[in-house]
Each structure stands twice: as C-alpha cells, then as structure tokens.
Amino acid sequence: MLFAVGSLAVMGATLGTILGVASRYLAVEENPLEQELQGLLPGSQCGQCGYVGCSQYAAALAKNEAAVTLCTPGGKAVAEALAKKLGVTADLSDHEEKGPEYAFIDESLCIGCLRCTQECSSDAIVGAPKQMHTVITDNCHGCSKCFKVCPTEAIKMCKVPVTLSSWHWEKPDSPHAHVH
C-alpha cells in the first residue's frame, strides 16, 4: 500500500515538476485579449467551432475574424458573453447594408467654407477658401462626415453608379428555386 501511494505520489510530483519547469521556460507571449476570450470559452477543446480548440477560436475572435456564435458547447450564454466582451452587436447593426456611396458637392450651393475639407480624413475634397469645392470620387470612401458638417447642405451622398464596365451579372437563382 505504501508502495502504491508512494509511486503515484512520486509520479505526480515528477510530472508536476516537469510541467512547472516547462511552463516557466517554455512560456510564450500571449495576447491578453485572447486569454480573456479563452477564459470565456468552455474549454472543452472540441473543435466544433471550426477551429482547432478554444485557443484558436479565441485567437480568431481577438483578430475579429470569427463570429461569436460558433461555440456549440458554450451555447447562447457564451455567445452573448463574447459579444459583450467584444462589443460586436452594436457594430453589426452599424455596418449593415448601405452599399458604397460617395459625396457629391452641388457647386451652386457651395460657399467654400472649408469645413468639409477639414473633416475629410482621406483628403478627398479639394478647393481653396471661398472657392467651389469638389470631391475626388476615387478618394472618397463615403463616410458622410462632410455631409454632416456642410452648413448649406451642398453635399449629397450618392450611390456609386453602375457603369457598363462595373456592371456584372447577378447570381442566378438556386436550381432548387426552379424545381420546387
């Protein structure tokens, strides 16, 4: 009996030492957000999220590459916790469907006040003080900041038009739409 207990204890102590030493000398820097996210995950390492284990999923989440709803064992609770941690629900509704836009300045209304130029983060609006301004469409990413500050409502946000060269075929209906 003593032998049994002893051998098990020795084994445990040895393995514990090895792991302890190893964890010290083999420590690898980790992203703290990743760690936190990983803490929220169930840790069952089952891979059902489509990633190889929780840490990979956490890494993907930290890099904002994965949806928060992928963990099967965690269920809804974990998804909510993750969403809260990453603050993604708000984001999602914000970025929903607008389609690309660009700003257009009605030159007859522009008074050359320069507010839009200051606001534009990509230098897409050119013009000197008190002169008409124009938007370089290619540089405009449609953030609509200029639209919001223009005192004369000279700025319109327009949908990027479809041209002969940018037009393409729409996705065809699924074959099943025809059959069933």
Binding site: W169, P172, V179, H180
Partner: protein
C-alpha cells in the same frame, strides 16, 4: 411566347440532353437483363421487383412532400426509379417484401433525401439499401433459390408467388442454395480447396444459377453496359479500371495459390461484377467527376471487391467496395482535378519555355 431579354447570361443553345433522358437510357440498358431475370426467377421475383420500385417512388414522394417540396417534378427525372430498379436487382429474387421495403427506406430516405436529394448524396443509395438489409437480415439476404423459370412446372404460380413475397410461404431452410461466391466461401471454411468448389464457368456465364436478381445474366448486363458506353452515358474509365483490377488480382493470386484463390475469370463472371462495373460504380453522383479520378475510383472498387470477397466475412464485395470508394470520392475529386489550361498542376502559371 414571350421574349426573354436579359434575365440570363448565355449560352443560348443547349445540347439535347436532360436528366430524365439520361436516366431513361440507363433503364433501357437494364431492361433486357431484367426481363431475362424475371423469366428466370418467376412471379416472386417480379413481385419483389415491382414492389421495391414502387416503395422507392412512394418514399421519395413522401419525403419531398414532408419537406413541403414539389414531388411530381422529382419523380419525373426517373432517378428514383433507377435507384429502386438497381436495388431490386441486388436483392435475392425471392426475398420477402419487407426486405425490399426496409432497403428502400435506407436507400431513398436515408441515403438520398436526408442529404438533399438527387445529386447531393455522397453514398450510392441503392447500395446503401442493399448493404443495410444484408447486414440486418443475413438469413434472407443469403438465401438464394435456384432458377425457377416462369411457366416451368416447378415454378410457383401467381398465387403461390404472392405467398412467397407477401406471406410466409417461403422456407429458407428447405429451398435455398448459395450463390457461387457464397458457396466457394463456405466450402473454404470447411477446408475444401477452391479448385474443387469453383463452379464451371459456362454455367455462370449462361446465368442459370442461384444469385441476386440482377447478377445472374452477365452477358445481358454486359450488353447493356456496352450500350451505355455507345450512347456515351458512361465512359469506359470506371468499368474498365474496375474489371481489369479484379481480373488481374484474381489471376495473379490464383496462379500463386490455386487452392486458396479463385481465378480472374471467375471473379469477373461471378457475383455482381458486371452489374457493379457498368451500372453501379458508374453512378455519376457518387463517383469522381474527372477521368483520372474515375480511373482511381474504378481500381479502388476492383481492389476492395476482391479483398472483401476473398478475405472478409461477406461473400459478395461489390456493394461494400462501391460504398467505401464513395466515401473516398471527395478526396479523389480534390486531388485529381484536371490541370487548368496554361497552368501547372499546382495552379501556378506554366513557365514560358524556349523564350523564342
């Protein structure tokens, strides 16, 4: 008629092909062998055959209806008729009706429609059906009868036959015979060398022997297969690869140890080799799409058929071999894609040679 302008990109012409035509051609190719077998095994076989097909069709309609989908259209492509037909051909001709029914459930509901229906299944439905009942009812599935040609004196009449298929009139212990492959296998376990148990080839080729409904008429099956090749419904790759592999393995091992291994010709004409090679392994849905892939697939089916027939518990191997290779099909497809024009196998652009 209305003019459709720009709802669809081209092409605006189409080969005169359709799914229904393809399936109908395969059915036509099966017809001679089927008629011969129906004659050979009499009314019970005909009942089971019709019952199985009807069960498959009804189950397809029911599964689609349960999902709220349009079932009439699906039935009109005949794929389920073909599945039922091949399934019936793989059953012992005098098996009771419930064997056909359970096989049909496995084939049509589980193997086909749970995966989304035509074209989306990964396993050959008919073979899933056959294997499921083979594993479940080994007694009924290995009880073959010797041929009882229609209208011959010993063959059951219409009413008797109803009793065999739909009642309890069939007694397995008294009337059954083993198929050639099964016989060889059981004899082998008794220590009888293959050389003594292997039946004469002429009898096998002629087809008048106990066996599944569709395996007893090798010449007609072969003819049907050649018809499909001629109609370009199937290509030669799978059947040839499979039959050659089977033949070569049989021949080589028989030469090495005639007492243990049956020879190549026997491997070809016994069991469902031809039916499998031309009609089952070639199922589009569950075999690779590229020609090199089909060659690998065919060789795999041949190899596994031989291995299972020779070493495993079940005497007949085609069905298992087909299912096993079905499982490998996605991987084969993945690795044996054709080389794209102007690119190497890895997808990099070809080097500009010569620099002329």
């Amino acid at each position: 008629m209305t003019t459709a302008y720009t709802d669809k990109s081209g092409p605006f012409t189409h080969a005169p092909s359709s799914v229904a035509k393809t399936m109908a051609t395969v059915l036509a190719a099966l017809l001679p062998a089927t008629l011969y077998d129906a004659w050979l095994f009499g009314w019970p076989a005909i009942f089971l055959f019709l019952f199985t097909i009807a069960a498959c069709m009804a189950l397809e309609a029911a599964t689609l209806a349960a999902q709220g989908k349009e079932w009439r259209v699906a039935l009109s492509d005949y794929s389920v008729v073909l599945t039922g037909w091949l399934l019936a051909m793989s059953l012992p001709p005098w098996a009771p009706w419930w064997v056909g029914l359970i096989a049909a459930v496995f084939a049509v509901v589980l193997a086909k429609h749970l995966f989304g229906g035509l074209g989306q299944n990964v396993f050959n439905p008919a073979m899933v059906g056959r294997v499921a009942v083979l594993v479940s009812f080994p007694v009924q599935m290995t009880a073959f009868v010797a041929p009882h040609p229609l209208f011959a004196a010993a063959s059951p009449g219409f009413i008797d036959a109803l009793g065999i298929t739909f009642g309890h009139a069939f007694h397995f212990d008294t009337m059954t015979a083993a198929s050639a492959l099964g016989y060889v296998k059981t004899e082998l376990t008794k220590g009888v060398p293959v050389t003594q148990s292997m039946p004469g080839l002429m009898g096998l080729v002629g087809g008048a022997r106990p066996g599944s409904f569709g395996e007893t008429s090798a010449p007609l099956i072969l003819a049907g297969g050649l018809f499909l090749l001629w109609r370009r419904i199937i290509s030669w790759h799978i059947p040839v690869a499979m039959l050659v592999t089977l033949f070569v393995l049989g021949t080589v091992f028989h030469a090495a140890n005639p007492a243990r291994f049956t020879d190549g010709t026997f491997q070809l004409v016994a069991g469902a080799s031809f039916l499998g090679a031309f009609f089952i392994a070639t199922d589009y849905v569950t075999s690779p799409v590229s020609k090199p892939g089909q060659l690998v697939f065919g060789c795999g089916v041949g190899l596994l058929t031989w291995v299972i027939r020779t070493f495993a518990g079940y005497p007949e191997g085609v069905a298992f071999a087909v299912l096993l290779m079905n499982a490998l099909t996605p991987i084969i497809d993945h690795h044996l894609r054709p080389r794209a024009f102007g690119r190497t196998r890895t997808g990099a652009p070809l080097p500009l040679k010569g620099g002329k």
